[in-house]
Amino acid sequence: MFKNEEMEINLGPQHPSTHGVLRVKLRLDGETITHCRPMIGYLHRGVEKICENQSFFQGQVWTDRMDYCSAVANNLGWAEANEKLFGITVPRRAQYIRTMLNEFNRLASHLIWLATHALDIGAMTVFLYAFREREDILDMNEAFCGSRLTTTAFRIGGLREDLPPGFEKMVQKFLAKFETCLEEYENLLSENRIWKKRTVGVAKLSAEDAIGLGVTGPVLRAAGVPYDIRKAFPYAAYAEMDFEVPTRTEADTYARYLVRMAEMRQSARIIQQCMDGMPEGPVMAKLPKILKAEVNEVYHATEAPKGEIGYYLVGEKGSGNPYRFHVRAPGFINLQALPKMAEGALIADIVAAIGTLDIVLGEIDR
C-alpha cells in the first residue's frame, strides 16, 4: 500500500529563494518539515584572515563586500570599532553625516528586503517599486563617495570629504516623495489576502527563543523585545536623534514586515533631523599619518539593517595591522534560528522564513 517514509531534499545551494548560495538540508514528512539543517560556507573568502594581514585602513573595502546590501552600515561599525581601539574623537559634523548615510543605507537594505521577500512569496509588483526608490539612494551614495554599492564611505577618524554641493536638495527631493512610496507598498501588501495568508502566523520565533539564539534586529523586535542598539548603546549621533523603536508582539513574518515598514518611516525621520541639525565644522579628526596600535581589544556593535553587527579587534603594540579581526555578522547568528522557525511548518513556508530573516550570504560566510 502507501509507503510512509521521510524524504530528504536539498533546498539550494542554487535556488533563487535562498538569497545566494545557502543550502538547507530538509527532511520531509509529506509536506511538513521534520528536520532542517542550514549548510553554509559556499561563499567563504576568509575576510578575517585577509584583514589581519592588511593595515587598519585597508580592512574597510572588505567590510563593503560582506553584506553588500548594507555596505555603509558595515563601514560605520568598522570605523567606530577602529576609533574605539585608538581612542579617536570624531568631529560632530562627521557623526551627523555618518548617521544620515547609515539611515539611507537602512532604507536601501529594507527596500531590497521588501522587494526580494515579496518576490519570493509571489508578489511581483513590489519588487519593481522598491527597486525604483532604491535607485535614488544608490544615486546619493554615488554623489557622496563615487560608488553605488561597495561604498567605502568612511575613514578612521571621520570622512574623506564633506557632502557634495546639491546633496541637500537630493535628500529633500527623496524625503518629499518617500512617504507616498511607502504608502504605495503598503497598499499593495498590508491588506492583500494572499500576502497575509503567506505571512500571518508563519515562521514564528518567540522572544525567549530569539534572545537565546542571539537573534537581533527586526526579527527580535517583532517578538516584542525593544532592543535597538541605536537606543540601548547610542553611537554616532543617535543620542541626539528623536526616533521610536517599533515593536510588535506577534513574532511572525507579518509582524516583521510591519516592523520593517515602521522602521523605514523612523529612518526618514532621522534623516530629516540630520539635515535640519547638521552642524558646521571639520569632518576629519587630526590623526598621525600612520596609526600604530597599543595592546587593546575592543568589541563594538552597531545596529545594521539586519541586526547587530559587531567588530572584535585586537591591537598589537606598534603594529599597523590588527592582530585579530573578527566580525559578528548578524546574518550568521540569525540564520541559526531557521530550524526553530521552519521545523513543523510546511515546505512552502521555509521560503518565507528565509526571506523574513533577511540574510545575505556574503556576510554569513565572510
Binding site: 585608538f86 523585545v225 598621525p288 597599543e294
Partner: protein, 289 residues
Amino acid sequence: MSDETLPQAPETPAGPYVYDYAASPQRQIVLPKTVPVPSLRTYQAEVAAAAAADEAKWQKQLADFEVAKAKAEAEGKDAPKPPVRAVPRKDDNDMKTPWPQEAKDADLLRLQEVLGAKVEEIFEQAGELTCQVAKESILEALRLCRQDAALNYEMLADQSATHYPAAKDFAFSVVYHLTSISRRKRLRLRILVPEGFQPESACAVYPSANWMEREIYDMLGIRFANHPDMTRILCPEDWEGHPLRKDYPVVGWGQRDISFREDRGGMLERIALQKAGQLGINLKQPKAE
C-alpha cells in the same frame, strides 16, 4: 663596414618570466613575536619598568654631568651645560589611547565576589568590562552571568578566539561578549586555553553559542566539550588545517600550492595520464626517432 659598428643583437632570454610563487609574500608565514593579551597587570608592570628605565637614564645623565663638570673644572675649561630631563612629546591630535584601568564597575566586582579565586583578572579598557576567569570554570561563570539577578546577561552576542603562538603557557584566548538587554550593559569574559584543551561548551547556557563554537573550531581548531554538533561550518569537512591560526599562510594550503601559470600544461597532462592509466589506456605517444 666592420662588424664592430653593427648593433649587437640582444641575447635571447633564458625563458619566459616566471613568477616565483613559493617566494611570494602571501605564502610566507611570519609568526608574531609578542603576545598582545590586554591585561591591567601586564600594563602596570610595563609602566613601572618604563618609569624605572627612565629614572635610571636620568640618574646616569646626572652622574655623567658631575663627572664632566669635575673634569672641566680640573682642566680649567668652561663648565658643560647641565642635562635637561626629556619630557614626553605631546602629540597635537584627537587621539587618546585607552589604557587598562582598575575595575570599578559593580558587575565585575560582583563576579569577583561570587567566583572568588576563579577570577584571574578584572579590568576596564575603552569603556569595556573584561573579566578573565580560569579556563575550567567558564561554564560556571557563564551560568552566573545568565542566572544571577544582579547580572542578568540574557544574550551571548559574540564568541571568538585568538591564536597566540608566542605565548608560553597558553595558545588561545577565547572571548565571550555578553549583552544584558534589560540593563543595557556589555561584558567580556575571557579564558586562556593551551593547545589541546577542550573548554566546556556554552551551548547549555546560551544556545546561540552553537554556531559560534563551530566557527571557532573550524577556524582555530579549539574543540569544545559537550557541544551538540562539533563539526566544521564554513570550510568543507575534509579541509586541512585551521585558517585563522597564525601559522597558516594567507593563501592557504592545498591545491593552490600548484603554481598553475607555471605548470598548467604539465599538471593537466599528469591528471590525464593518471586517469588513462586507471582505465588501461596508453596515451603516451611513442617518441619519434
